[in-house]
Amino acid sequence: MIAALSGAFDDISKAIRLHRVWIALAHEDIGDQHRRTTLGPLWMLVNYFAFVGTFVFVFVTKDAINPSYIAYVAIGMLVWFYLNETISVSVSLFQREASFIQGTTLPLFVYVMRLTMQCVIRAAYSMAGCVLILLLSGYGTNMNWLFSVPGLLLIILATPAFVVVFAFLGAFFPDSEFIVGNMMRVGMFFTPVFWVYSGQEGVQKYAYHWNPFTYFLESVREPITAGTFPMHALAVTGYFCLGLWALALLLLGLYRKRIVFLI
């Protein structure tokens, strides 16, 4: 146990010393994905804007026309898409990096941070799209928005742990790539991304209270839609992150040397 943790911290500290590697590689990745396109990475802003814009401006009914619902959906989708994308691409992380893992001695956490960095850069573009929608919908800005910052930081902090857990899952159980893909697709409907929970009984109640993603979403969204500091959501998210990190460290410590034989 102690040995596992010290192994994990060794891997992480080596990776942090090599921070220039994953920063450079993440930039190359983003560049490669958009090479030869005219808009380049701005496509990510366009994608988000088109999707959420379509949703809010086409599906709005009379009660949903109010700007606070638009903000609700826009922020919900921002956070949901971020977590969804991170988890979905994490499952195949080690398979995708196979040639590096089998050819260099870089610590595994370098690949984790490379993906984290990539996801954060993409999310920054989506976030620009989100702010644009908030402004266009006539939703005024105010100081309460700052209460969202701790939630955003917590999500970024949780990202490497999500990546580690799902990357190991994908390496040990290749079937999980498809299972996780399906679950995330269905998960959107079980998470209050575009539906509002207002005390109903039944499935929605459980989906609201027992879904960890609810709290990730609410800790960013509540300050903007309700103007309050999201104490409860932050607390739950915080505990969830601690648990996730503990699991991630354990996996990294125990199994990092096995990965090269599995991919």
């Binding site: 450079a24 090479r35 040639s99 260099t104």
Partner: protein, 233 residues
């Protein structure tokens, strides 16, 4: 002091057998490698009780048929694989050349790839800056250095890979078979550089099927067969 020491090193690859309905007819392979099964898993014993010692200035040539464990041994020395049994101790800064394209991004230019390769090997920005021109000179790529890596021929890629791997004068250099990719004049240059490296009390381990290359470059020769050391002279 630069040194390598292996004691009874073994390495086993475990393969997960896919479910299949066809009969498991087995044929003996004339090549190296031992397949065995343990339970539902197949295992390949790639290295079997390998022990040897190298000291500063040694240049070891690894020979043996395909599948005899040369690449596996190099990867164990580099630290990519942890041996299944046995101990290994290495003193010295190691660099390795396995596959020409490892660590190179096809879309990035040669110059950018040198930077990335340097970062991956843990060089500082100053070291990369300092070695850049020398690497470009040694590789003789000229203006091609600013073209994407995917536009390089095999031999050009080999020149760049070799120049980059040897630029920072690793104390231990591991090389897999492909080194024969360059043309004659490059081979000559590469040999000179390997000589320099060995004279600076470095260690070179080179796997190759090219006996003349091994004779030209190496001072010791180890024959692997089925993952075992057959002879070391």
């Amino acid at each position: 002091m630069t040194a390598i020491k292996l004691n009874n090193v073994s390495l086993v690859y475990r393969l997960f057998e896919k479910l299949t309905l066809s009969a498991p007819g087995r044929r003996r392979s004339a090549l190296g490698g031992n397949i065995a099964s343990s339970g539902t898993k197949q295992v390949v014993q790639a290295l079997d009780d390998v022990s040897f010692e190298l000291k500063a200035g040694d240049r070891l040539g690894l020979v043996g048929p395909n599948g005899s464990g040369k690449t596996t041994l190099l990867k164990v020395l580099y630290g990519i694989y942890q041996p299944s049994a046995g101990t290994i101790s290495i003193a010295g800064k190691v660099d390795a050349l396995f596959n020409i394209s490892i660590g190179f991004r096809p879309e990035a230019t040669g110059r950018r790839n040198i930077v990335l390769r340097g970062l991956i090997s843990g060089w500082t920005a100053a070291e990369i800056e300092e070695k850049m021109e020398e690497i470009i000179d040694f590789s003789e790529l000229g203006d091609f250095i600013d073209l994407p890596f995917k536009a390089y021929s095999q031999g050009m890629a080999a020149r760049l890979a070799f120049a980059a791997a040897t630029a920072l004068e690793p104390e231990i250099l591991l090389m897999d078979e492909w080194i024969g990719a360059g043309d004659a004049s490059f081979q000559e240059k590469a040999k000179r550089r390997m000589d320099e490296l060995a004279e600076k009390a470095g260690i070179i381990v080179l796997a190759s099927h090219d006996d003349t290359l091994i004779q030209r470059v190496c001072t010791k020769r180890m024959v692997l067969k089925n993952g075992r050391v057959e002879s070391l002279t």
